[in-house]
Symmetry: C2
Subunit: 295 residues, 2 copies
Amino acid sequence: MIAVDWGTSSFRAYRLDRDGAVLEQRSAAAGLLACQGNFEAALAQRLSGWDDATVVMAGMIGSRNGWHEVPYVDCPAGAEQIAAGMLEVAAAAFTGRRLFIAPGVRYRPVIGTPEVMRGEEVQLLGLAPRLAPGEPHTLCLPGTHSKWAVLDDGRLTSFRTAMTGELYALLTRHSLLATSMDPHAGDDAAAFARGLATARSDGGLPSHLFSVRTLALFGELTPAQAPSYLSGLLVGHELEGLAPSAGRVHLIGNVELTRRYERALRARGLEPVGHSDTLSASGLHQLARHRRLID
Amino acid sequence: MIAVDWGTSSFRAYRLDRDGAVLEQRSAAAGLLACQGNFEAALAQRLSGWDDATVVMAGMIGSRNGWHEVPYVDCPAGAEQIAAGMLEVAAAAFTGRRLFIAPGVRYRPVIGTPEVMRGEEVQLLGLAPRLAPGEPHTLCLPGTHSKWAVLDDGRLTSFRTAMTGELYALLTRHSLLATSMDPHAGDDAAAFARGLATARSDGGLPSHLFSVRTLALFGELTPAQAPSYLSGLLVGHELEGLAPSAGRVHLIGNVELTRRYERALRARGLEPVGHSDTLSASGLHQLARHRRLID
């Protein structure tokens, strides 16, 4: 089978054997937005030469702006519920083969605002078999829109989103703070830690952000340090709002981001456990099995 | 004398009588940025026909990117300290007259990051004579960078900044949330109150912001309501971080913004007292008196 993780700005495809092991993979930095609505042609081109009978996709490709909108499945949701919500797609370019798009997951807390994810759920499912049964596990997927989720016996029971990465991009590109920052600066661990500490002080995020400006004004933060400090402020506020008070947190993401979150979690006395961000192939393989598309 | 409040994007000038009463006023929506460094010519043009011997200016005109950088005066700072820090400027177009630029104010807390203001201090001074002596007063100036200050016996003893207005502008213009919003929508009191309530729930600002998206997705927030809801989220977080737990808060600002903050303060059990935002003339008049530029 072929597993596809198709997001707004990225595309990843995996060719899997019967047991779900990755035989080949392809990726593109161009996601939905780059297709201009021509999803079938884009998929045929990107999978050309791979003739497997079953293609299972997840991500924003199943959203209102994607190929076909697939209704959300509600929490608690495991592989069984998500597989049952998959939608089969007809495509002339794939005659004789079967294409499916997985649904996203919705969480409606009794108190508070609703939450949604599309794509992260297959990464979570991919990790689930490695987690001990009978107890809840906290997982964090850092990113443009970071996700914090609880998995219990393979089922996603609740989750929250933080717009941390998007805030970072907005502030470094378009705000007054941009004038204090070197956008090409690398990671500065001390400046990041200082941002984390400020995030734990009183005042709140709208107030803490102004400290990027004032510290720069008084020469206490160089343009090379300012991006890491800002990142520390934002990640610190994300953790302040969403991290548990103690215990283990499973991190799924790219190495650079995961390393920062590991430091931030340790600074709060939490125990980070890092995982690679290529778990979606395994999650999509589970969905295909539950839907009996493969043996 | 002539009092001038000259900021990054706005200009206001007042012609005052001996007692500080405003005789005439002029304003322009063009501030420092519109002058392209030619401050003397811009001032001469904007004050043409006003021949008063003394011109006192405040605001970003005294910053590094202004006409002359005037060093900050440290808290605690009253009219006496700020007047002493004023810098006289030589200008051929104003021969025979005297021009001064007021310093900004800096606050260095024992714990935490430094704070600065330029321009707001003359508004605060303008209000000071109306406040009872012998007790501290809390003042809030909502805006792009909101200021929260404590005045005690006419002296500014501490203050904090929140980038609330700038965050609102960034998020409505450049973020994913922009797709859920009608940028021309008017004030919606119920949506604003709902944003305030969300701000008081757990999760933190980076997480609460995503609720603009999800509530819109499920039809629980219309594009016309979304800007007010976002404003409620951001103002709510500003107050969560900087508002006192009880008592009176003096608000200085334009009517529309002040009304929103009044509602937000009342929702927290605080007692707002509204003031107009044309207090800078009175503050600049006090500075001229303390410097003995007028009788």
